[in-house]
C-alpha cells in the first residue's frame, strides 16, 4: 500500500509536442466544432499565434509522449485496475498553441488514507514549461486507489 514515503517522489520529466494531427484527432473524438480550434486562420484572427489547445489537453499530452505513461503506478506498485481519477485541476499562466514543445515535471504532493484504509488518495502535481522556458501551467490530479 502506498504510504507517506511516496511524498516528494519525482517522476521522469516528459517532453511533448503539440502536434496538429494528434490534436485534430482529439477534436474529432469529442465532436469539437469551435472555429478557434478547427481553423488556423480563425485562431490567428482571434489573436492566437496558432491553434490553441483545449482546456484538458495538457493531461493528454503528458500521457501521449510519455514512454511510461503509467510510470507513477508501477513506481508505487499500484494495479491499473485499482485506480480511479478523483480530482483534476489546471491553472493556466500562458497560452499553449500547436507547434509548442512542453516539458511536464511531476511529483507526488500528498498521500492520504480514506475510509479506514479502504482507499488511498494520491495527489500528483505537475509544472508545465514551454520551449522558451515559460511556465505555462500547473496541473494537479488526485488518484484514488481502491485497496484490497
Amino acid at each position: 500500500m502506498v504510504d507517506q514515503s511516496a511524498v516528494g517522489h519525482r517522476f521522469t520529466p516528459v517532453t511533448a509536442q503539440v502536434e496538429p494531427g494528434r490534436l485534430r484527432y482529439f477534436f474529432e473524438t469529442l465532436g469539437e466544432t469551435n472555429s478557434v480550434y478547427r481553423d488556423a486562420a480563425a485562431a490567428k484572427a482571434a489573436g492566437y499565434k496558432g491553434i490553441p489547445i483545449p482546456p484538458t489537453y495538457l493531461f493528454c499530452l503528458e500521457m501521449l509522449d510519455n514512454e511510461k505513461p503509467f510510470e507513477f503506478l508501477t513506481a508505487l506498485d499500484i494495479d491499473l485496475g485499482k485506480v480511479l481519477h478523483g480530482e483534476q485541476s489546471f491553472t493556466y499562466h500562458a497560452p499553449v498553441v500547436v507547434g509548442d514543445t512542453l516539458t511536464f515535471s511531476s511529483r507526488v504532493a500528498g498521500v492520504a488514507d480514506k475510509k479506514g484504509g479502504a482507499m488511498t488518495l494520491i495527489v500528483v502535481e505537475t509544472a508545465v514549461t514551454n520551449q522558451d522556458g515559460v511556465h505555462v501551467a500547473d496541473t494537479a490530479r488526485t488518484i484514488v486507489v481502491r485497496n484490497g
Binding site: 469529442l30 482546456p55 493528454c60 485496475g81 483534476q88
Partner: protein, 136 residues
C-alpha cells in the same frame, strides 16, 4: 458566445448537451488522449477489476465540460479549471454540462468570474462538479 460584459451572479453561462457515450467513443478517446488503461474498453479487464462493465475515462467527461466552457469563454480567457469526479460515467451516458456565475471579482487589474460547473447524465446524476475562473 456569452455576453461576458453583463454577466451577473446566478446567470447560466455554460450549457451544452452531448450525444450518448458509445464504446466506440471510448476506444477513440484511448488513442486521442494517450490513456490506454484497458478498464475503459476491455470488459474482461473491467470485470476482473470488480466493475460490471467498462466505463468512461473521467477525462473524456472533463473534456466535454471543457468544450462547453470554451464555447462560452475563449481558451485565452480561462485562468483555471478544476473538477471532482463524483461518480463513474457509464457507457450510454448522455451528458449535460452547465455552468453558472458564482462570483464576480477582480484580480490585479482583471475582472474575473468564478463559474460553478456540473456535468450530469440523463438520470440527473452528477458526474463532475467543479469550477472555472475566467477573465471577463
Amino acid at each position: 458566445m456569452t455576453d461576458t460584459k453583463t454577466a451577473a451572479v446566478g446567470d447560466r453561462v455554460v450549457h451544452k448537451q452531448f450525444p450518448a457515450i458509445s464504446r466506440h467513443r471510448l476506444a477513440l478517446y484511448c488513442g486521442a488522449s494517450g490513456d490506454h488503461n484497458p478498464i475503459h474498453v476491455d470488459i474482461d479487464f473491467a470485470k476482473a477489476s470488480g466493475f460490471p462493465d467498462a466505463f468512461s475515462h473521467g477525462m473524456l467527461v472533463m473534456g466535454y465540460l471543457g468544450q462547453a466552457l470554451s464555447d462560452a469563454f475563449p481558451p485565452s480567457r480561462i485562468r483555471s479549471f478544476s473538477t471532482r469526479f463524483a461518480a463513474i460515467t457509464q457507457v450510454g451516458a448522455e451528458l449535460t454540462c452547465e455552468g453558472t456565475v458564482a462570483e464576480l471579482f477582480e484580480a490585479g487589474s482583471e475582472r474575473r468570474a468564478r463559474i460553478a460547473l456540473t456535468t450530469k447524465d440523463q438520470h440527473g446524476e452528477t458526474k463532475l462538479a467543479g469550477e472555472a475562473v475566467v477573465a471577463l
